[in-house]
Point group: C2
Chain length 235, copies 2
């Protein structure tokens, strides 16, 4: 029996909109703090706290919300009022309750991809957030496997391939993040495809040094994926 | 090749202290709000909010902290000050940073259990919290497998056994929670052992109706486990 090759798909900002919703929430946060600090000060304070707290809190909306509350108290030197902190909590809850918005062409393209590949959704982040989005996405039936992982590093990808009995040369990963979706996969000897998104979290930018000597296809749109895979790996 | 049977072990309040730390944090929270509300009012408001938020936030310290902030603003009708909310955040961070305290006899008993069984740590909760505790516990080398799951229901246990190729009659689960560690496992036809802890979260109490006609061993201490298993399942 010949198995179809496996296509790993990132979710946030590859299959559905994510960072834009965080950006909107962060815009509301800047607005709330505008009597005390400039937008740049708010962004810098928040990113610094998010980096400090990531070991404690991990990724996701709860982590973002807690860091916003902490940043707000710091930036206002404790003069922010409780009803304003309440607005921060509400913004976080609205982020959680926001419906999943698939990116353009994703639903139709998944249908095509599923004919040639076994599809594995591979996403990191807060599992409560991620599983809720997966359930609400309406596309879960396209997937042969769904994996919410803690970090997207070579060790994690290697363990996933072993667990699902997938050979390295039968695996291609697709996503919007070079450090998370592309580089660790290429380092294992598998293939990766980069589909940049219009907005990317500051924490997820690759440094230039890590890109030296590494080559991978970059697509403008998810809809270009079937043609690329047909030409590159199935010809 | 004959595989040793598999012993599933819950972690929080089975291997290490957990709820007592939350109770201490909640005591500090009651104290903070004592100018506005009685301890009973604070507890009731917090439990109600935790139940409302569990679908959004899941389990764990971040969820607890966010619900505490929301409860504090509600109970004080917005009159709590930012520096007091800051104390709530600090209490949550101290909970996260608290060293893991193994329960008495756990380290020695795990050594014995590992001679007769393959040990599988099965815990639910915030994966960031859980993996940090597992890494810091000093006992991870005793385990054949470590699984952080979203819910401890029959479906989850069944999927774990299938994934690890363990027959139902070769599996015994041990934990302090009847609804999470005992009943779903017995419903699959596997064995379960209850080791009550001195303190249990309000959300984790079994209702009496679910216990009718169900029989399982109850131990006073983790140290009694090897003798029970030797008599019951290996004789």
């Amino acid at each position: 029996m010949v198995h179809r090759p496996v296509l790993g798909l990132d979710a946030d900002d590859t299959l559905w909109e994510n960072q834009a919703h965080f950006d909107t929430a962060q815009g509301a946060f800047r607005q709330l703090l505008s009597p005390w600090a400039t937008g740049e000060q708010v962004d810098a304070s928040l990113l610094s706290l998010e980096r400090t707290n990531i070991g404690r809190y991990g990724y996701g909306v709860k982590s973002f919300t807690l860091s916003c509350v902490e940043a707000a108290i710091n930036l206002t030197e404790g003069t922010i009022e409780a009803h304003q902190i309440s607005q921060i909590l509400s913004t976080g809850q609205a982020l959680i309750d926001h419906p999943v918005e698939l990116l353009p062409t994703v639903a139709d393209t998944l249908h095509l991809l599923g004919e040639s590949h076994r599809l594995m959704l591979i996403t990191k982040g807060d599992p409560t957030d991620q599983h809720r989005k997966i359930l609400n996405s309406g596309i879960v039936d396209h997937f042969w496997a769904v994996e919410v992982v803690r970090e997207k590093d070579p060790h994690t990808y290697g363990a996933l391939l072993q667990q699902h009995r997938v050979e390295v040369d039968q695996f291609t990963m697709v996503g919007n993040s070079v450090p998370s979706d592309v580089l660790p996969v290429i380092s294992l000897g598998a293939q990766a495809v980069h589909i940049p998104h219009h907005t990317t979290w500051g924490h997820e930018h690759a440094d230039d040094a890590s890109l030296v000597g590494v080559d991978f296809p970059v697509l403008d749109s998810f809809s270009e994926l079937p043609a690329l895979l047909a030409g590159r790996f199935l010809a």
